[in-house]
Amino acid sequence: MMWRSPLALVRDALRGQRAREKDLRNLASNLPYEGLEKVKQPNRFFPGNAIKTTKYTLLLFIPMNLFEQFHRLANIYFVGLVILNFVPVVNAFQPEVALIPICVIMTLTALKDAWEDFRRYQSDRKRNNTPCFIYSRKEKKFSERSWKEVRVGDFVKVFSNEIVPADLLLLHTSDPNGVCHIETSNLDGETNLKPRRAVSGVCVSDPEFEPESFNSVVVCERPNNNLNHFKCYVEKPDKEKVGAGIESLLLRGCTVKNTDHAVGFVVYAGQETKSMLNNNGPRYKRSKLERKLNIDVIFCVILLLSMCFVGSVGHFLWLEEFPDVPPYLVPDSNGHLDSPGLSGFYMFFTMIILLQILIPSSLYVSIELVKIGQIFFITNDADLYDEETDSRVQCKALKITEDLGQIEYIFSDKTGTLTENKMVFRRCSIMGTEYPHKENAIRLAVLEEPESGEEVIFNQRPQLSQTGWSLHAEDTNPEEMQHHHDNRRKSRVTGSAPSDVAFSSPLETEVIPDRKLLQHISRVESSGSRKTDPYLDFFLGLAICNTVVVSMATAERQRASRFSRSRQTNNPLDTLSNVAKKPFSLRHIFTSWKNKPKRSRTISEDSVVEEEHFNAPVKIDGSGNTDGLQTCSLQASSNSNDPARTPDNVTYEAESPDEAALVYAAKAYGFTLLARTPHSVTVRLPSGEDLVFELLDTLTFDFNRKRMSVLVRHPITKECVLYTKGADYAIMELLGTSYAEHLRGKQKNIATDTQHHLDFYGKEGLRTLCFTKKVVSKKVYESWLVCRRNALAAIDNREELVMETSVQLETELTLLGATGIEDRLQESVPDTVVALREAGIRVWVLTGDKPETAVNIGYACRLLEEEDLVINMSCKNKLECTSILDCTLEEVKRYSEDPRNVDTSQDIALVIDGRTLTMALSSDLQDRFVDLAKHCRTVLCCRVTPLQKSRVVKVVREKLKVMTLAVGDGANDVNMIQAADIGVGISGQEGMQAVMASDFAISRFKHLKKLLLVHGHWCYTRLANMIIYFFYKNVAYVNLLFWYQFFCGFSAATMIDYWLMIFFNLFFTSVPPIMFGIMDQDISAEMLLGVPELYRTGQGAGEYTFTTFWVSILDAFYQSLVGFFIPYLAYQDSDIDIFTFGTPINTISLFTILLHLSIEIKAWTVVHRVTMLGSVALYFIVTLAYSAMCVTCNPPSNPYWILHSQMADPMFYLLCIITTVVALLPRYMFHVLRNSIAPSPLMQARRLDRLDASTRDEWMKEWRSFRGLGQVRRSRLSPPPSPTLDTPADIFPQSPTASDIMADDLTLNVITDNCQRPVHM
């Protein structure tokens, strides 16, 4: 190491500072400087890639932690007391001893902080040591290094499924077009693939990129946290500048997908990366209980001050009484006595020191310890563990566990939260004909009920993807069928690898074609009329009209799987590396099945196939199939080089799950999307022929148009064809009247028929899409192209103009058909919703879907019951909205006041759409809306934006002053999650953004039930009881000292040794209440789940109220009176000395305080017993040892041999027994009498819990008999019902006609009751 002058160091530091602050950074390659010392490195000023999220360093831990801790009010109080101890006039003895409690408390807190920080350190280290490939000039290749060694200016190679270690400027990819797909779910929760383009023209696109030849300078902006913006240019040696933006930046934390490898230049590293700049530490929330607690602490302060005041005045009066100076008044060292007034004043402060523990400052640290324990138990609950994703519940907010027990409103997202967000193609309607796909429905039903699924024999030959669709499917002989069945069973076991990548599970990928439709297509195929047949067009539209990316099922690299191990850390970035875990990892498939129970829910044939492919990836493909590709145009030929690209092992990755589902559906009918490049789309037809469409343009989806289109040139007819898909209302108004000549006149019918089908789909809860086709004449196309180019080239209003051109083209469409896609409800959602409802929680659903779908989902998950009164609010202007709101409110009030409706279980539900919601939430209507919502059991908000979601939560939370919980899974729920008291994120298909913003992360909606009903109830009850107990304990103990003041001239003398007093609070009586707070169970989990009503005890004010607080304070006063005056009366007029008098009092209060706790403890486990007995034993051992050893150790306290002599005296025991009994008798009696005369629901539940299982169930049923426990009716196949007229500007109960009810008894959720009881305007 060369010596450098300090001046040079300073200069260097300054230069570094300047370099970092500069708006533009010039970055050069590190390679020419490789091996040189640091001073010569061009990028030495920029931070390395190692990251540090820890708060403290090893050396500075103590000062920094102390500084943190002194920010807390409780600690400041404590320190103030310690300082007061050192003030001479206060006459505190042994002021050093006063330091002990604060030291112990702060040490505990520091240990906790250190442990948390250590965990962060570990996760940092793990991340920093993740391997990656950096180019090394010495080795002439990319060599394996760890993330922390990455520096700005390095070249990093990232392979498929690997996580990008730093912000990279993409220079080269394995893709000939220079495209690299990334998945940014770690950053923004979006799972779709985003293409990133290599900076063009910077490096020669050799097959292999030569980093050494890179001699340009990269100029980029200063790091910022905007994930969607990046500005930079590359300056070549010849001064040519090439600009690049966010489309060329690979962000740290993203996963590279679909690209074999990519090479990038590191522009930002470590803390300066965009993802790290976006990472804003943990959030601090304060629970409702703690807010209440703080108020009570203030009461304690008032109590303390008034007691000190009494002491002060008492001392003054006491001094005033003396005619002369008595011998026991000790003057100060000058022989001078303070005047009574001054002494009284000083005594005030001495009293504060004496009575200081009245403020339960140890309460705060105890609460934190208790919460850590509670979180331990929550995260360790096996019921909240999801096997499929191998994830437990995560508690991100450490301070609000008890809020879980007080929830009154739940705001839930729909897609992905209530539903699985796994889109499954269910049925379709083509040219006005409905194809119900019965077999497919059966398959789905089988998947849903795994147990019975074993018995089902498929009488339809399942579609085997590797053989493609065969026309002879139905001729299969029975043996073969049996074989297939076996095969299926076998593969069901093997194929259950956890799928982390969306849309890849067989549930979504496999569609069993409808037999009739299949026959129809085969007829069309063979008839040769395929150029114009609308059926073929429909499927082509399905396959083409999307932005689905085709990826090959390449076997996962060994390296990539290593990432997956770090998944369950708290760190979101680490957690997200799970995406690297591809289902095609064969080791996964082979090994995981052993751990799975037989009844795995997925079926996969693919996995078996993959296995073969893995062994011989080239051979299988090559045969014959490539012949078909000869007809391909030039663009497609690049794909044909890829040996793995066959229909069998393509997988699709789409922006939205719906698109993938449609493509898979098309594939099931033989229309396989084979490849998509920027300029072409390749589709294999059922006949095996490959069609390569020239992709002319894609009119992307936007929220205004609610549709997307693809403009292609048909390879055979050379016509320009526009395929459009979109929401029904966005399509229907654009339909043209002219189609092929022979269909003229029928078009209208098709539209109405399709509309019927669509309505029916909506009722069934299916997501609907319409497909249209339009042939664009060459002339129109050319003129449009000009407009389009102009729009694209426009500088101002570019987006609007582009959209306009899209609208221009999307006219006169011809309807092909419609699809219904099911987003299935998650497992036991209805059950959970019913339980939550019974628990007194109102569940609101906020969704972006249309009202019909939302209402349907509402029925399916039992948010709405069939007899419920459903109010549908949808209006166009504010005036209307106001009047509707007023009328409804009046009506609802009248309804709920109507005595006839008292016993009916009929409830009111409100369905409101986004536009109306905005009006209803405006400041003047807010109150009315909230008032109305209060009367509704459930509210469904449809078509709401993320911002509206959070607004709803905020309004309800603030107006109704209730505890709210928001649960969601996607980025659009983040606002809502953050606005609620508790945000719960579901780590599902939509990435981690919701999870990152949440306080608790669960993997399934059903986990909410146990999390709230059991853990929430427990955490709340435990903590509330513990806090009340803590207040009681301190008051009861301190008051003993206070009563003594009346007998010692208010001189702040204690009859208990100072050390023993401190030990008493810190050691003898601290552990049992903490264990109580962590482990007590007032009711068993089974009971809490079985009787959700019990949850209501915690709602609203809950158990911790003003009354309970003051009752316990009064009880403490009573107990301290008893605990002091019984010994006083017993020792009156005797020769008892101070500590001999105090010892039984101390012992009595130990027993009283511990036995008081044992009255409160509801379930005595071995832990409770050990801590209880341990505390008593500790008291006696420590006190005995201390009084035996301390002869002169710490004057003035001197308890020598006192407990020993007391324990030899029978009076001591007699005194202890009677005092403890008298002190606890009232509380005990109160509990006994209340439990006997008016048992609380909790008490009744505990009684039930003791009964044996069968009697218990009987009782439970009887107890809850008023509630109907009907089964959830699942949606079944049924003919489409006749359409109902939509009158959106009206309030109307969802009323299907009577014929509907008669016609399809299988349709779910028909509202029956409201026919008789409509709401009048």
């Binding site: 003396f322 563990y385 017993a1130 020769d1135 008892i1136 509801k1162 009677i1218 009964l1251």
Partner: protein, 339 residues
């Protein structure tokens, strides 16, 4: 197969502890269950109460106030602080045999030995015979640590300084003549005080240890001359000193002065007339205190105190009463499953 373990790495342990299913005893507080307990406790308490009450009743106590505030009091003349070395005689009679062993106490009222600063005003090091503490008493003794000439006071502190110094001689009046009742001054202090806590410095003669120190301001004699009759009863292990140094917990207290155990009085004080000669030294007017002498015999439960016996009786009966109440409650509100 490492992978296999990884696969379920996050599965929580399925133990009774982590799943919160530890076997637990769930006591149910309700009338039907607690009745037997209440009856049992009530009866036991009544039993103890009776025993305590009977024992307490058997204890005889004789208290005589000799403050001398009242004009007709024998010690009235001595209550004037100006009179030095005042002696007064207290006559009293005992009707029946005062069963022995009789304990002879002096009592003070309104005397706050538990006053915070007073109770701390002593030096344990010094009292345990530490010679260093003789020359430099602890701060806690202030202002009774040094006299005006900066000489250390031994024993220092307010407690020692204010030691009670009335002395008593008891005579039995037999046929008009005073017959001395022997008082036993040994073993009236705690054994641990006498043997462990308080030690004289191991200097012989004891007087030398007190060189360069002065006696407490209020004391007439230095510590090594506290008991002229018994050289072993001097210094810090003087029994009267030890008794005084054990600070009383409450402002009205008594302290053991002597025991009457010798010879013919071992069985107690026979009936008859007695005369108590009091050397009245200790002033109590400054705090409106009272002084008294107490003769008492003791039982296993200590001195006479009827409170505890009564308390046990009351609480015991209360428990029995409660159980009756609960029986009614139980009959009325019982949970059917309790049968």
């Amino acid at each position: 197969m490492v992978k296999e373990e990884k696969e379920i790495a996050n599965r929580p342990d399925n133990t009774a502890f982590t799943q919160q299913r530890l076997p637990a005893w769930q006591p149910m507080l309700s009338a039907g269950i607690v009745i037997p307990g209440f009856v049992l406790i009530g009866l036991a308490f009544i039993g103890i109460g009776v025993a305590l009450f009977v024992t307490s009743r058997s204890i005889t106590v004789l208290e005589i106030d000799y403050t001398g505030i009242e004009k007709d009091s024998a010690c009235f003349k001595c209550s004037n602080a100006d009179v030095k070395n005042c002696v007064c005689n207290l006559e009293f009679s005992i009707d029946s045999l005062f069963e022995g062993p009789v304990f002879f106490y002096y009592g003070l009222s309104n005397y706050f030995q538990n006053y915070r600063k007073y109770a701390a005003s002593r030096d344990d090091e010094q009292l345990s015979g530490d010679l260093d503490a003789f020359t430099a008493p602890s701060d806690s003794c202030s202002p009774y640590d040094y006299n005006g000439n900066d000489k250390p006071i031994v024993p220092c502190g307010a407690i020692a300084n204010s030691m009670f110094n009335d002395t008593f001689v008891l005579y039995r009046v037999v046929n008009g003549a005073n017959k001395l009742v022997p008082l036993d001054g040994k073993g009236i202090a705690w054994w641990t005080d006498y043997n462990v806590k308080f030690r004289n410095p191991s200097v012989t003669p004891l007087k030398n240890a007190f060189n360069n120190t002065v006696k407490p301001i209020f004391w007439p004699k230095p510590a090594y001359q506290l008991d002229a009759s018994d050289p072993a009863n001097n210094g810090f292990i003087n029994q009267d000193f030890l008794v005084w140094m054990r600070r009383a917990a409450l402002p009205d207290f008594r302290k053991l002065y002597r025991r009457i155990t010798d010879g013919e009085y071992a069985k107690g004080l026979p009936a008859g007339n007695y005369s108590l000669t009091i050397a009245y030294n200790y002033p109590v007017q400054s705090f409106e205190g009272r002084k008294k002498v107490v003769f008492s015999n003791v039982s296993w439960m200590g001195g006479k105190n009827e409170f505890l016996g009564i308390a046990y009786l009351v609480v015991g009966s209360l428990c029995v009463l409660m159980s009756i109440v609960m029986l009614i409650v139980y009959a009325k509100f019982k949970f059917p499953e309790e049968d």
